[in-house]
């Protein structure tokens, strides 16, 4: 059998589409360059630009403060690593506790609900102060590193956010899935572990990644406890030079750190949307 060849009509349509898309790219390019040129000229030609550049974008100070800030960022990354593990464990426990049924489990359910209500409402900074300064005040004999206390405080707060996301995901799994699992003789716990949670996680991956990106930058808050992280290192450099460039450097480093995760979140969301559009679930 002869292979199908597109008709004249279709070839003409493709040509038209190509022309149209070339034109759009060109228009976008020209307008972007024009806009950037005008914006750039406006900034550079403004009367105090020199002062602004020296205060925030001083290359010399950026270079000299960079090693210390990077060293500080390494602390942030370690805090982030342990906080992520703690949050994953605690949040799953909380979400599971809230999904327990039966009057016997009322105390656990109430505890989990109270916890999430409390820590979702509390400002992270207050939790940091309470844990970071309050706990060492209880016993002056034992010294717990502030980074550890900071990790605990961040984990306490984010566990509450993430638990709510997980719970929403668990509730989004259709009840017929639970019924099917229980009908096979699986227990409530087995149903949660093997049927509900795996499907729930898939549904909330974008939301979880969003929380992770958010936590990536909030680990910078541990600097208020005196831990020498990227933010603190920048602050020290700023105090020595009376220049704000170190903060910009630290800020850009946090942005750079979160960038892969943000792109990954977008990619995962797009892939999931594409998969859902094929239809045929359950």
């Amino acid at each position: 059998m002869e292979a199908w060849q597109p008709s004249e009509l279709e070839l003409d349509r493709r040509l038209q589409r190509r022309r149209a898309s070339r034109r759009s790219v060109l228009v976008a390019l020209v307008s972007t360059v024009a806009f950037a040129a005008v914006a750039g000229w406006l900034v550079v030609s403004s009367p105090d630009w020199e002062t602004v550049r020296n205060t925030f974008f001083n290359v010399e100070i950026a270079k000299s403060s960079f090693p210390k800030i990077l060293e500080g960022l390494w602390l942030n990354i370690r805090v982030l690593f342990f906080a992520t593990i703690a949050v994953a464990v605690v949040a799953t426990l909380l979400a599971t506790m809230r999904s327990l049924r039966g009057p016997v489990f009322f105390p656990l359910r109430a505890l989990a609900t109270g916890y999430t209500d409390l820590f979702r409402g509390l400002p992270v900074l207050i939790v940091l102060y309470l844990v970071g300064f309050g706990i060492p005040g209880l016993n002056t004999e034992v010294r717990i590193p502030v980074a550890v206390l900071g990790t605990i405080a961040i984990s306490l707060c984010y566990s509450a956010y993430v638990a709510e996301v997980l719970r929403a995901g668990m509730e989004a799994v259709h009840p017929s899935q639970r019924i099917a699992a229980r009908s096979l003789g699986l227990s409530h716990a087995q149903t949660l572990r093997m049927v509900v949670i795996p499907q729930a996680l898939r549904k909330v991956v974008p939301a979880l990644m969003n929380d992770f990106v958010s936590m990536q930058k909030d680990v910078g808050l541990i600097s208020v406890l005196g831990a020498v992280d990227a933010v603190r290192a920048a602050q020290i450099a700023q105090a020595q030079t009376y220049n704000f460039t170190p903060y910009v450097v630290a800020g850009l480093l946090f942005v750079a750190m979160s960038f892969p995760m943000i792109r990954l979140t977008d990619a995962v969301s797009a892939r999931m949307a594409a998969r859902e559009q094929q239809g045929g679930t359950v």
Binding site: S176, G185, L186, Q190
Partner: protein
Amino acid sequence: MTAADRATVLKLDGVHKLFGDNHVLKGVDLEIASHEVVVVIGASGSGKSTLMRTINLIERVDDGRILLSGDDITDPAVDVDKVRARIGVVFQHFNLFPHMRVIDNVTLAARKVHGIEPDVARDRAIGLLEKFGLGEKVDDYPDRLSGGQQQRVAIVRAIMTEPELLLLDEITSALDPMLVGEVLDLVRDLKEQGSTMLMATHEMSFARSVADRIVFMHSGRPLEVGTPEQIFGDPQQPETREFLARVTHR
């Protein structure tokens, strides 16, 4: 225990079910013998699905008793997971687990509930899947399968652990008419192998050919029970006649 008792797989004794003020089951008595296929017919809302769900303990009965091979499964002290493991259920909307491959869907209960070795479960599952024309789908996810294939996988999942009783709740209602046949053929195979089944369906010609007994449910009661010849050929109750006239004339 007499011989007649031993042959009884399922016995319902005055089963009532209420949802609020809605009295859905109003004293259902029913017995199903071993290897028997009982088909429940009746209009929507007549209590067919609720009946199925009470047997599987998804709904708690509000009165009466249900005995599975002589055990009172409505006893509050009974372990519901153990009871459910003895009953296979196939649903209208298949309810396969979308995050598991066909093989894992089918072997889940065998591995996790019945403690069968994974290799043994896998071999048995593959045997069953091949037998029912699903040999090529073993490692696929459910969303890659047609509705008919999904429902056949769901049936294999239900029979995998050789349950004492199979409950089939309108298993072809969500299927394209073209795909109904392949699912019903599988049910016919199961009957030939001697499965004990309770089945709710709207497929009257199938009900007629496969059932040992037909139960006509009407407003929460089995109004008329008999062989397919009796129910379809010579219905005694005016409600049965009216229902059959409506569903067969379309």
